[in-house]
Symmetry: C2
Subunit: 81 residues, 2 copies
């Protein structure tokens, strides 16, 4: 469950989810940035887990991607370690 992740994993997993959802929709970082009224550099840093995004930024991204919070804040299915 996403909220149970160690703090240092939260931004990384969020970034990976964002990238996956963006690519599923065949959107470039630049296109998503324009849809969410953000800078491309911010999308890049969030996808790389280097930004601890604020709630309104998360909402702007979720709105642009037209998804539920549970789709963006989730632990993806991973192959077995």
């Amino acid at each position: 469950m996403f909220f149970q992740l160690p703090e240092e994993e939260v931004t990384k997993v969020f970034g990976r989810n964002l990238k996956k959802l963006r690519l599923q929709r065949k959107l470039s970082m630049d296109k998503l940035a324009r849809m969410a009224d953000m800078e491309l550099s911010q999308i890049y840093r969030i996808e790389n887990g280097r930004v601890n995004a604020k709630l309104t930024t998360i909402a702007a991204l979720g709105k642009a991607l037209d998804i539920d919070p549970n789709e963006l804040l989730k632990i993806p299915n991973l192959p077995h370690d």
Copy 2:
């Protein structure tokens, strides 16, 4: 849908959800603050919609309350206007 809220409503609705969930669990602000390793003043400001919480803060609160993202980031049922 939470992500569709106007930006100025996002922090307000989030704060109201947090307060409701905290009270359902019969937790004081002080108790929740200690559970989430935060300052009481931060809980207070978030519940009042005056803080744009960061992702790791949202996760710490969600972890303390043991809930899903969709429970914390949702539009509550309101009486008809």
